[in-house]
Structure formats: C-alpha cells, structure tokens
C-alpha cells in the first residue's frame, strides 16, 4: 500500500470525517500526502489534508520517546482517583479499549459532542422515536422536510446521496419527491440547483419548537388564529402539514444545528410526536444527522458494553448514567475527576477545551497544536488513513470498515490504550 514513487496512486477510501461514512471516495496518495480526488466534499477534502505524520510525543511540552510518554501517562492514570475519558473521537475498536480502561479504572466516558448526544439519548429514553436510514430515504421518500442547514452546502453529501440520488428502487417516489426546508435565510444559496422541487421557508433555528408545535396542531386539524408563526405564514405551514399528511413516506431530517441548539429537546420531541401522529394513517419517520467524530460509534459501544449511552461513570464499581452530572466538564469542574484523557483522532483542531483546569493526557491526531500544553501528548493515527478501522453511521444501523491508505507508523488509539492498560492494570 505504501508508495515510494512520486506518482500519486488513487485509492478507494471510506470517509471518517462525518457520520455519513461515504464509501465511494477516491484519494490520491503521494508518499504520505493525501488528496481527495472525488466526489467533491469540503469536509472530506479538509479532513484528508489535515494532520501530519509526526510521531514524536510531548511530555510537558518537551519531545519524548513513545515509551517515555506511555510510562508517564501510565503513572498519571495509575495515580488517578477518577479519570475521565473525553473527546472520544475514535473508532469502534478504540472505544472498546476506552471502555475497558474506564471500567477497570473506575473512570467515566463522555464525547466532545456530549451535549448533543445527551439530548438525543434523553429523548429516546423518555419518549422513543420512529426513525429511518439513508437508503430508505433515498429510495422511498416522496417528501423530505429538512430542518436546518447542516446537511446543506459543500460540507455534506446528504442532498446528493439521499435527496437526489441517481436512481431509486421506486422511481415514482423519486419523481414525486419534494424537499421542504425550514432553515435560516442563509440556507437559500445552498438550495439553488437541487434537482427536486424545493421550497424554502425561512426559519430561525431557535423557533423550531414553535414551528413544530404549529405543524402538529395543524395536522391534528386545529385552526390557528395567528396569521404567522415565527415569521412563517400560517397558510404556508398548513400547506406543509397537508403535504406531510398526504405523503406516502415522509421523512423529517434534522442535523446538529437543531439538536445542538439550547432547549432543542422540545423541538425534537414535538417532531417525534408529530411523526407518531402521522403514522396512525401513513408512513413517516425521522432521520437525525449527527454522530460525527466517532460519536455514533462511541455511544453504541458504550450502550452495548455498559447498558447506557455516553456520560456513564464506573466510579461506584459499575455503570451509572447521568447526562448532566457525568459530563466531562462537570466532573472536572466539580472536582470529581482528577485526570482528563482526551481522545481526538480526526481533526488536529479538536484539542481539549482550553478552560478545563485538569491534568491532561491527549491521544490526538498527529500534527495537533495546543494553546494550553497538555501534560502528555501522544500522536495517533486516523482510522481509515493510518490504520484500518470500523465506524457506525449516523443512522446507527450500518457500520462500515475503513481501509488504511498509507503506512505512516502512527499507532491507533486501541494500540496506545492497550499499552497503557498493560502497565496500569493488574
């Protein structure tokens, strides 16, 4: 797989940089340099170009051997009362090793996008959901209601893959397909040129709950006195409601700009309830885009190994779950945790939050630069670039293998944590 000549060799790749896990990428490999040939995606382009192959760890900001760094990290871990494993931007096998260490050491686990995950997990645990997956949307949907602009533009291939696929098992559904977008005005540009009929109703994301509530009321047959809801004409909303009711298979899609917004639980719950209402008579489902940076994988592994999603602590001897108390930030700020092990294998900019005052070990993508120098930095490879990996997709039903693209010698998170475990655990 290594290429010593200067002729770039295009390789097939699976993209680890967002949770759509596109597996049709072609990457030019020139020595250790990686360039996206296609298909076009801003996120993939930046992700493959990011990082370096420096493998020299830093201990207190000073270069050290790998062995020295591991020994020092092991000493910190062994002396820790409650280590919190944060970031968790890794692959399935990295996460399995995180779980083993957290369990054995009485630590806890949280992802860098833990707030969003906590909302999603919380909603599932209180109300449930009715959801669907990428291929179902691409083949079956005749109406797609998209909230937010996360899935639009150069940073996502959602529209290309799911809204305007080249082919469909049910061509009549594709031919009838409409896209309705509830998103800020800034989304308008990204909507140009979409090849299915598209209607944009400008909406601020903070108004999503109000709009969802109105849609649900309209679907229930109620008449709204207001002429507009959150700036959208009630007649327009009534039309959206009518289309949802008439659709054979409607899909409501939202991404991180909804699910990470403060108090978005209400909006998401209303959308879920609206979908449950719709299914009394017709078929409809949600697709929640998210779970990038390994979040979907980390959450799933935590669920099967501990029985709960992330923000789980093993401090009491077994798993306990609390979506607020066991956030990495909370555990560090209230003095419960005394060591942060920050795992971030995808983007060099995803360093630990600079305002957290806690001894820190970073397993980070090679080439990371720090504003606040961690106690230990061990460069790691990226799954699907430096070593093979497996990741779970945004819809949490499909997981894909990611082949390595080069032989950089950078270790995986699994390997580094395995070395730590060998020193720390009896």
């Amino acid at each position: 797989m290594i290429d010593s000549s200067h002729q770039p060799v295009p390789l097939n790749a699976v993209c680890p940089f967002c949770s759509l896990l596109c597996d049709d990428l072609r990457i030019a490999v020139d020595g250790q340099a990686l360039t996206l040939i296609g298909p076009s995606c801003g996120k993939a382009r930046a992700g493959f170009a990011d990082g370096s192959i420096e493998d020299v760890p830093l201990v207190a900001g000073v270069q050290a051997t790998h062995h020295q760094a591991i020994e020092r990290a092991a000493a910190l871990l062994a002396g820790s009362r409650h280590p919190v494993f944060g970031g968790l931007a890794t692959d399935i096998d990295g996460m399995r090793t995180v779980m083993m260490l957290a369990d054995r050491c009485g630590g806890s686990v949280d992802h860098m996008d833990g707030d969003t995950l906590a909302r999603k997990n919380g909603l599932l645990a209180t109300r449930g959901a009715i959801s669907t997956t990428l291929a179902e949307v691409a083949n079956r949907a005749d109406l797609i209601l998209l909230l937010g602009e996360d899935a639009l533009g150069d940073g996502s291939r959602f529209i290309e893959r799911c809204v305007t696929p080249g082919d469909s098992l049910h061509p009549e559904r594709l031919a009838a397909r409409e896209l309705v977008v509830l998103a800020p005005r800034s989304a308008a540009r990204a909507l140009q040129g979409i090849s299915v009929p598209t209607r944009h109703l400008p909406m601020a994301m903070s108004d999503a709950a109000e709009v969802a509530s109105a849609l649900r009321a309209l679907l229930a047959g109620r008449t709204l006195a207001a002429r507009a809801v959150a700036g959208i004409r009630t007649t327009d909303l009534a039309e959206v409601a009518a289309r949802l009711a008439a659709a054979r298979y409607a899909v409501i899609v939202w991404g991180k700009d909804l699910s990470s917004a403060p108090h978005s639980e209400v909006a998401m719950e209303l959308l879920n309830e609206l979908l449950k209402d719709l299914n009394r008579n017709t078929r409809a489902a949600s697709l929640v885009l998210g779970g990038s940076d390994g979040a979907a994988s980390a959450n799933a592994v935590c669920a099967w190994q501990a029985g709960y999603g992330l923000r789980t602590s093993f401090a009491s001897g077994g798993p306990e779950h609390d979506p607020t108390r066991f956030s990495a930030r909370q555990l560090i700020e209230d003095g419960t945790a005394d060591l942060l092990i920050w795992i971030s294998a995808y983007a060099t900019r995803q360093t630990p939050p600079a305002d957290l005052d806690c001894p820190t070990i970073v397993l980070g993508r090679s080439g990371m630069r720090f504003d606040v120098v961690p106690d230990i930095y061990i460069p790691v490879g990226t799954p699907g670039i430096d070593h093979p990996g497996r990741l779970i997709r945004t819809d949490s039903s499909v997981s894909l293998p990611l082949p390595a693209l080069r032989e950089s010698g950078l270790p995986s998170v699994r390997q580094v944590l395995g070395q730590l475990a060998a020193l720390v655990l009896p």
């Binding site: 645990a125 997956t133 291929a135 078929r283 669920a303 029985g307 077994g318 798993p319 949490s396 039903s397």
Partner: protein
C-alpha cells in the same frame, strides 16, 4: 492434559445415556474415550451426587445487534434496577431484558449455557451484531440472517427469477453476514409496512411486489434445502400476537408441504378467538399439528410475569402493539431496504386475563408437543421474559404441583380457559437434556455440541442433584467450556471467549455481478463493504470461527 469427571450421573440423550453413572474424560478441549492404563490423569473431579449434561444451547435469544442496542438506550430503567459491579474477573454491566454484552455472557455461563444464538441479524447490521457477540464472553455464538423483507429478494420473486438465482443470493447472504441460518420475520410484512400495509396474512400480496408470505416461505425453505443448510428456515410467522392467528400458523405448517421449517416463539402465534373475550388458547391445535408433521420444529417463547422489553424485526406488529407500551415509550426503525426493528417495553401481569392466558398457552404447548427433539426451550429473550428465568421455567415443566400452584395464582378467568390443570405431564431430565442441548445442536447442525460422546467439544455442565430443579439449573456446580473450567458453584472462575458458528454453502459467485450493480444503484454503501470478514471476527486471535458443514444439497 487429561481431566476426569468421575462418578457422575450422565444424561446424554444422543448416546442413549440416561442417568447412568459414568466417568468422562477431557483432553485438549474435547471429550475422549477412556484413556489406557498408562495414560496419566492430571485432574479428577469427583462428581458423586452430581448430574452431568452437555452445555446448554439457546437456539433463539436476542443478545446482540442494533435492535438490542436500541432497546438498551430506550429502557435505561432495566439497567438502573440491575447493576452488575465489576470484579477482578468480570467487567461491569447489568440489565435483565437487554443486558450489557459482558453481563449476558457471564449470566448464560453461570446458568450452564455454553452457546447462544442471535436469531435476527440484518445483513445491513451484521458487522455490529458480530461486534456485540464478540463482546459477549464465555459462550459460543452465531446468528441467523434475515431475509424475506429485503427489496432485492422481493424484486427477484416479483419478476419470477430462476430459483437458482435466489439460491445463490441466499448463500451469498449467509456468507456475507457470517450467519449460521436464515430467519424470516413476518414474511414480507416488514416490507409491506413500509408501503403502509398494516396487516399481511399468509396469502395476502405485498402491495408493491405482489408477493405473498406463503410464496416467500416456500422460496426460502426450498433454497435452504437445496443449499443443504442444516437449520431449516427459522420462521417468525404472520400475525404475531393477533387473536385468531392459530389459523395462520396451522396454514403455515400445512403450507410447508413437507419441507423442513422451524416456527419460532409459537406461543405468540397460537391464539384462538373463542370465549367472551375473543381470546383463547390454540395450544392443543398447534401441538396436534406439530405432532403430526415431523418436518416441523418449534420453540415456545414462553412468557413469564414481570417487566421486559419486546424487540423484534416485525415493525408491523410492533407498531400495532405500541399503545400497550409500559412504560409509555417505544422506538421503531425502517432499515436500509433490508428490514426494520421495533422496541416496545412491556410488563406481563399475572392478573391480566390476556397475559395470564399467554403464560398458560406457552406451558400447554410445551406439555402437549410429544417429541422433545422438535421443541426447544425459549422465552424469545427478552420478548417473553429475560433468559435468566429459564431455571424457573424448567421447574414449571418438571414439577406438576409447582405448576398447579402457579396456575392458582393467575387471573382466574384465564386459568379457567386453560386445560393446563388437566395435564399431568412432567418433563424428565432426559427430555430437558434433549430440548436444551441435544435437539438444538442437531437442528443447527452443530455436530460436536449438545452431546458427550468422544470427539465432542468439552462444553459440559455439572449440576448438584436436588429436588428443586429451579435451584439445580440456576446454579451449576461446574461448567466446562472447551475443556476449561469456567464456572464453579454458579460463579465465573475463568473468562473465555467463545467461537462463532457459521455455514458456507456453495454457490455461483456470478450472483455478485447482479448484486454489485444493485448495490451501486440503490444501496447506501458498496457491496464489498457490507460483508463481514473473517479477520474482523477473529480479531487478532480473540474470536474463532467454526464453519459447520452443509449437507449435500438437493441442488440440480
């Protein structure tokens, strides 16, 4: 090294051994014939007063995969109420209905089980299913891949494809998913629900493809026979839970036309419509049909009272049951033009007429099917009850007085509707050994499991003989996995990783041309990427793969 198990009462129905006091010998993980006088015995366990059986095998238990994980996230209560702390040996975890993977493995071993089979693996989700099974220690495992609701197969059937093409597709799916058998769930019904059909009886066509459940059952059964796959088509039939569904189930049995077929969790498919409540037992009719049709095997899916979570690929029927969710939440998913899943929490109440009668119907089935080789002990974990209730269930089968006491405590109207009190049968240890070991191994084609003859894998469970079968089966004295002592007095003493059982029938790889094109046009990943490789399961030596032989098929 030779281990001797001395003076044990052995129950090994495959070899006609029924409580005879014997010595057994283990070397290199296998049972061997008595060694010669010159051979050294390294360890001897004196098992006087003990009963020895092969390790138990659960033929149908939902222990891994996306639907189980969805269930875990949905029903955190199950884990809050049952936390299992870590020990020097064991990882922490917990949960009864949807236990964490480690806890599931430990608890199965602590009950004397040495193999568990996940019955509902989607190809789209096969990788995760195998990952979860890999994190389930102690036991061997395997999974049945779902077919019959996937658009590819229904499309093939709709255009009248050559049976050889379908056969190749079935074999390709078994290989790609690393599966041991094929299961069909609500044949065509999961797919039909995506087209908003809310019911689908045996001869009702799918609104889009025009294919009926009967045709799907026949097509898949025939393909498996032709491929020589040992386990017959594993059928979760139409109309699960619907009063009157006994008619569908009997029609399904008749429709098998002699082809082998396994009907799973038949308790949920044996309901009549007699009486004021329009809900009655179809157990006697079901048992009569099973007794009369040697091509049919069943597992029961017994319900036991308490909180559990129902998880199933049957989105159509799970949606129909969501108003009964307890607590009031549920999750449903359409998945990848392949299948779907639904998770609905449920609490079975002994004072509820319907639940109490379901309980009685399950027991009636157990007690009225004559041949223990064709009926397997399951609760359809966790749909009828968590698997940890098996020892209690065994006692209900073995102890008539205990059963009748239990009957006197349930909803009296339901008790009056059941003929349970009039059934005297008590299962014998031989019959328990058949239905929990020998028969599932034979049905799945696991030639070296489920018995204690020379050459068999030394998966062995030792119980202390005692009057109370629940206590006996709940806490084995010793459990050996592949010859290693892993459980002593119901506690794990050694953590091992079991192997994964698969079948690999021969097929014409030409099918991949069609499939590759289909994946490229309609799927959300390349065909190559959905296949689970051997390396992934072997995981640097942590897991092993046992390829079970297929019979010489009847392929032409």
């Amino acid at each position: 090294m030779i281990i001797k198990l001395a003076n044990a009462k052995v129950y090994d129905p495959v070899h006609g051994v029924s409580g005879d006091v014997r010595d057994l010998y283990i070397r290199d993980g296998r049972l061997i014939a008595p060694p010669g006088p010159d051979e050294r015995i390294d360890i001897t366990h004196d098992l006087s007063g003990c009963i020895v059986m092969a390790g138990a095998i659960d033929i149908h238990t939902h222990i891994g995969g996306g639907k189980v994980n969805l269930g875990r996230l949905l029903l955190g209560e199950d884990h809050r109420h049952d936390m299992a702390a870590r020990t020097d040996l064991k990882r922490s975890g917990g949960g009864l209905a949807t236990p964490s993977t480690f806890t599931a493995g430990y608890r199965y071993a602590e009950m004397g089980y040495t193999a568990c089979f996940e019955p509902a693996m989607m190809l789209a989700n096969a990788r995760q299913t195998h990952l979860e099974m890999a994190d389930t220690p102690m036991v061997d495992k395997g999974a049945y891949v779902l077919l019959g609701n996937d658009d590819f197969l229904l499309q093939l059937m709709a255009k009248g494809a050559d049976p050889r093409v379908i056969r190749d597709y079935v074999a390709w799916t078994l290989h790609s998913a690393q599966a041991l058998a094929v299961k069909v769930v609500n044949p065509g019904g999961i797919n039909a629900f995506k087209f908003n059909q809310r019911r689908l009886d045996l001869d009702e066509p799918n609104a889009h493809y025009g294919v009926t459940p009967r045709q799907i059952l026949h097509t898949l059964s025939r393909a498996l026979v032709e491929l020589g796959v040992p386990h017959p088509l594993h059928v979760h039939g139409c109309n699960l839970g619907v009063p009157g569904n006994i008619e569908t189930t009997l029609a399904t049995i008749a429709g098998a036309e002699g082809l082998p077929m396994h009907l799973t969790h038949v308790q949920f498919h044996s309901y009549g419509t007699e009486g004021d409540r329009r809900f009655s037992s179809g157990a006697a009719r079901l048992a009569e049909a099973v007794n009369a049709n040697p091509n049919i095997s069943v597992d029961v899916g017994q319900i036991l009272f308490g909180q559990t979570l129902t998880i199933s690929g049957d989105t159509m029927r799970q949606y129909a049951g969501c108003d009964h969710a307890h607590p009031k939440k549920w999750a449903l998913m359409d998945i990848e033009c392949d299948a779907g899943c639904g998770a609905v929490p449920f609490r079975y109440r002994d004072k509820s007429f319907v639940n109490a009668l379901q309980w009685a119907i399950g027991l009636e089935i157990f007690l009225q099917v004559d041949d223990p080789w064709r009926i397997f002990l399951t609760t359809d974990h966790p749909n009828g009850a968590p698997f940890t209730s098996y020892p209690h269930l065994i006692r209900l089968l073995m102890d008539r007085n205990y059963r009748n006491e239990a009957l006197s405590l349930i909803n009296p109207e339901a008790a009056a509707y059941s003929n349970l009190a009039s059934i005297d049968r008590e299962y014998t240890l031989d019959e328990i050994a058949i239905m929990t070991r020998a028969a599932p191994a034979r049905s799945l084609g696991l030639h070296d499991r489920g018995h204690l003859g020379p050459g068999a894998a030394a998966d062995i469970t030792v119980y202390r003989e005692q009057g109370n079968p629940e206590a006996m089966f709940g806490r084995p004295a010793l459990v050996f996995k592949d010859g290693q002592l892993v459980v002593r007095d119901g506690e794990i003493v050694l953590v091992v990783h079991g192997s994964t059982h698969v079948v690999r029938p021969e097929f014409d790889a030409g099918i991949e041309r069609d499939l590759s094109d289909w994946y490229q046009r309609y799927a959300s990943y390349a065909m190559e990427n959905i296949r689970v490789t051997d390396e992934e399961i072997e995981d640097e030596g942590r897991g092993g793969i046992h390829v079970q032989a297929c019979r010489d098929g009847e392929a032409t």
